[in-house]
């Protein structure tokens, strides 16, 4: 196996938390609010079902092929040629995906924080850090996230608490004014984020305690769900129907914090914290990209391709959209279907084919034996 390290399923759950959460906090509350209005806190609940589904699919596939990742077992399921094609498609998809994430990060930091720093410098600095972590392998990424995620989540909740005095709880009502439909519509974009949970299919083979993988995967989905609901509720209570018009509602919310005329303008701190979470997200995606490529090309080690692929990711990041508005529009419209197809649709098809194959084989086995 290319990756010799083992992680625990708890580490996997902790890793997956910011992998979904880091970027969903930025644009998604506003995108959800456009459709769901004051029901934007219900949308994630619908959306999370995709997360549970993804973990379930990954787990079922892993039960059939316990030592392979999706790149490897697609070759077994679909045969050599189609399998390789699908693997190559996934690698390119993750190139695109990582590029988009890196771009989101870069746009956000340069838009709110370092206005005059070139985008390449911001993205490049992060990619260097990320490459260093990927070089350490899965164990190191797991341990890093165990240090980073609890601190970041805790401070995030503290910030939500600091906002308490500005919150207007009446913004919640009327709940489901127009029935369930608006919240359903609002859930489509978060769904595409939750579908990123299919990443666990890359991590399952490296779990030391695989039997707990399903359980912790589900817990991870729930933890993401809870934090998103907290975020959406906070922005809703703070801005009401204004949420839809803001680009980064959470950061705008952080500007509201003012305690004792001293704790003010904490958005820089929030951004710094968020960067730590994004680091985990970028690293996990980058790692899976590198690992998937190495598995596709049957390399003996993934470390030599980290740096060249890192450069490519930076370029993909620059190419992925001409500007933030385009990026936000893409993520709010077509991207959802694109992500869902690749991250949910294809795995479901794979699972069905794998099941049928297994059934056929069993039948064959019973008839010949």
């Amino acid at each position: 196996m290319i990756e010799r390290g083992k992680i625990s399923s708890l580490q996997m759950a902790i890793m997956m938390n910011p992998t979904i959460l880091a970027t969903i906090l930025l644009l998604v509350p506003a995108i959800t609010a456009k459709n769901a209005k004051q029901d934007l806190w219900i949308s994630p609940i619908w959306a999370s079902s995709i997360g549970f589904l993804c973990v379930f699919i990954a787990y079922q596939l892993n039960r059939l092929y316990p030592k392979e990742t999706i790149i490897e077992y697609s070759e077994i399921i679909l045969g050599k040629i189609f399998g390789k094609c699908l693997g190559a498609f996934y690698v390119i998809y993750y190139f695109h995906m990582t590029g988009i994430i890196v771009r989101e990060y870069g746009e956000f930091v340069s838009g709110t924080f370092l206005n005059r720093t070139p985008l390449v410098a911001i993205i490049g600095a992060m990619m260097i850090v990320s490459a260093y972590a990927v070089n350490g392998g899965l164990e190191v990424i797991g341990r890093c996230s165990e240090i980073i995620v609890p601190v970041v989540s805790l401070l995030y909740i503290v910030i939500c608490i600091l906002l308490l005095k500005d919150l207007d709880f009446n913004n919640l009502f009327p709940i489901m004014e127009n029935g369930l439909l608006p919240s359903f519509k609002g859930s489509i974009v978060p769904q595409s984020w939750f579908s990123e949970f299919i990443l666990v299919s890359f991590l399952f083979p490296y779990l030391a305690d695989r039997n707990k993988g399903m359980k912790w995967g589900m817990i991870s989905v729930i933890s993401v769900l809870v934090l998103i609901i907290i975020t959406n509720l906070t922005t809703l209570f703070l801005f009401g129907n204004l949420t839809a018009n803001l680009t980064y509602p959470v950061i705008t919310a952080a500007r509201y914090i003012s305690i004792a005329d001293f704790l003010e303008h904490l958005e820089s701190i929030i951004i710094a914290l968020w960067v730590a979470g994004t680091f985990v997200k970028i690293t996990v995606f980058f790692y899976i990209l590198v690992l998937g490529t190495a598995q596709l090309l049957k390399l003996s080690d993934f470390r030599p391709i980290i740096l060249p692929m890192g450069f490519l990711v930076i370029i993909f990041g620059i190419w992925s959209a001409p500007n933030l508005q385009e990026l936000s529009h893409f993520l709010g419209t077509t991207a959802a279907f694109y992500f869902l197809t690749v991250q949910v649709g294809i795995p479901i098809v794979l699972l069905i084919i794998a099941f049928i194959k297994e059934k056929l084989q069993k039948k064959k086995g019973s008839t010949t034996g």
Binding site: L10, V109, L114, A125, V129, G142, L266, S268, A276, F279
Partner: protein, 527 residues
């Protein structure tokens, strides 16, 4: 070629000169490994040859019972001369019996020395003599006697300077191995306390001890320590730092991967947690392996004070660690990139004091921090009389003159001072210094990318720490990989009666260190 065979060849012309010729042919090493001869004069020749130009080696030839030739050799200043005279020379020279058939009789009847060893090769003799034990060789005997009368100057047991405590034992290791082992043995009296001895160093022949408690320490760890130590091939070991450099897992890391301590109580507590202690002769510093990052922020006293106090002090240290690492860079980042974070009144006063300063904040910070490091280093190395002069000059120049000359701002001086104090709150000198050094690259990051740079710098440090291992134990454990129960000794210092288990990664063999239900209460014992 074997010395003995060569000598046998020249047996017909049994002259000393011939023997010498052959001796000169053979290398020193061969000579040392060969067995003793049964002629004492030849033995003396060989030994004198080995100890050419060693004027501190004393050869004392004498007669046992007025007729048997014998020699006593020792190194001046390393043996107890009075005892030699009284317990060896006197009884042997006054010996009346003519028949001296074997050494056993002498040992049983004449030598009033409690610790004696029989030596049969020249190597053994050299070793014993260099330990300070006088060696007696007797004519027509192929064995010699080494008497345990080593006595050399040693320092008294004192409280270690670098690790002093308010409450706790005041003894410290010294440069003598036998004293150090006895200090440990006095703390842990069980025979399960094992001490394996190794000799490292081609010339220094330093005695190194692997100390562990059988049944607590995992065998694989002992084997690993043993194999790493026996791989060392160097001319001399002068301090534990030499050994540390050879056996740590990642030599390029700025972080220490072995703990060094002068305190026997810290070593004993490490032993009880299933760790291995490495004692090195001629240095008061013992090494402890494996360690985690958090053991660098623990002091022995955490366990002696009340647990609430211990917990609070631990948190104070973690806080000061962050300050020592991040304060100057945070100051630079906020003043350069994020002025909006500073409350207006504070910002105004900072801006006023920075009005005359010609440098940007990052340059100012670098000047001051480097000056501070230089002062600190000068204070350690200089003799005490000059040291106080340095601190006065430093305080005046940095504190007063630099500010009034408008070269640096007063807030910067404060930042540097707080950083300095914070770094001294880390109990381990080598850990404090690595964090102090890491603040310079983070300052560069802060000066270029602001808070984002600090965050990236921190992430780099975290990644590096996550890759580190100390003898197979992840450096960040029990935080990562996470072990909930182990937080009892990291996030807090749990009270003694609830510290029931040993750390899982080192003390897995024998998990429970105390019996259950020992929480004190008023009704205990009267039920």
């Amino acid at each position: 070629m074997n010395l003995r065979k060569k000598l046998r060849k020249v047996n017909f012309s049994h002259t000393a000169s011939k023997t010498l010729e052959i001796l000169e042919e053979t290398s020193l090493q061969e000579k040392e490994q060969s067995q003793l001869l049964n002629n004492v004069m030849e033995n003396i020749q060989v030994l004198k040859n080995i100890y050419t130009d060693c004027s501190d080696i004393i050869f004392r030839q004498f007669l046992i019972g007025h007729q048997t030739e014998a020699v006593l050799l020792y190194i001046e200043g390393m043996s107890n001369i009075e005892e030699i005279d009284k317990s060896i020379l006197e009884p042997l020279m006054k010996h009346e019996a003519v028949n001296l058939s074997d050494i056993q009789t002498i040992l049983e009847e004449k030598l009033a020395v409690s610790k004696v060893t029989q030596v049969s090769t020249f190597q053994d003799i050299v070793q014993q003599v260099s330990f300070g034990n006088p060696v007696i060789l007797i004519d027509s005997q192929v064995k010699g006697i080494a008497a345990g009368l080593a006595k050399f100057e040693k320092r008294a047991i004192e409280e270690p300077m670098a690790e002093s405590v308010v409450r706790g034992p005041r003894d410290g290791f010294i440069e003598t191995m036998s004293v150090n082992t006895s200090l440990l043995r006095r703390k842990i009296k069980s025979p399960k306390l094992k001490m394996r001895s190794l000799t490292i160093g081609r010339y220094s022949k330093t005695n190194v001890m692997i100390v562990y408690i059988e049944g607590l320490c995992e065998q694989s760890l002992i084997d690993e320590v043993n194999s790493r130590l026996s791989r060392i091939d160097i001319d001399g070991i002068l301090e534990s730092g030499y050994i540390e450099g050879f056996i740590e897992d990642n030599p390029y890391s700025p972080f220490p991967q072995l703990l060094n301590t002068e305190r026997p109580d810290i070593a004993a507590s490490a032993l009880l947690e299933g760790r291995v202690v490495i004692l090195i002769d001629e240095t008061p510093f013992a090494l402890i392996a494996p360690i985690t990052l958090y053991s660098l922020f623990q002091s022995a006293e955490d366990y002696y004070q009340r647990f609430i106090i211990g917990t609070l002090i631990r948190w104070l240290r973690y806080g000061f660690l962050l300050i020592a690492l991040l304060l100057p860079s945070a100051y630079v980042a906020i003043l350069t990139f994020h002025q909006e974070m500073v409350p207006t009144t504070l910002l105004l006063s900072v801006a006023k004091s920075r009005e005359d300063v010609p440098f940007p904040a990052i340059v100012e910070a670098f000047i001051m921090e480097i000056t501070f490091e230089a002062l600190r280093e000068a204070g350690i190395r200089l003799p005490k009389q000059v040291g106080s002069a340095v601190s006065i000059v430093g305080a005046l120049v940095i504190g007063q003159a630099a500010v009034s000359a408008g070269l640096v701002s007063a807030p910067m001086v404060m930042v540097v001072a707080i950083t300095g104090i914070a770094s001294f709150a880390i109990p381990r000198y080598n850990a404090a210094i690595s964090f102090r050094m890491l603040r310079f690259p983070i300052m560069v990051f802060a000066g270029t990318l602001g808070l984002l740079g600090i965050m990236l710098g921190l992430l780099l440090i975290i990644i590096h720490l996550a890759t580190l291992r100390s003898f197979g134990v992840p450096y960040l454990s029990p935080m990562a990989p996470m072990e909930g129960v182990e937080m009892k000794d990291v996030l807090i210092r749990a009270p003694w009666w609830s510290l029931k288990t040993r750390p899982r990664l080192t003390g897995y063999n024998n998990q429970f260190r105390q019996s259950n239900n020992q929480k004190p209460g008023p009704n205990k014992g009267s039920e």
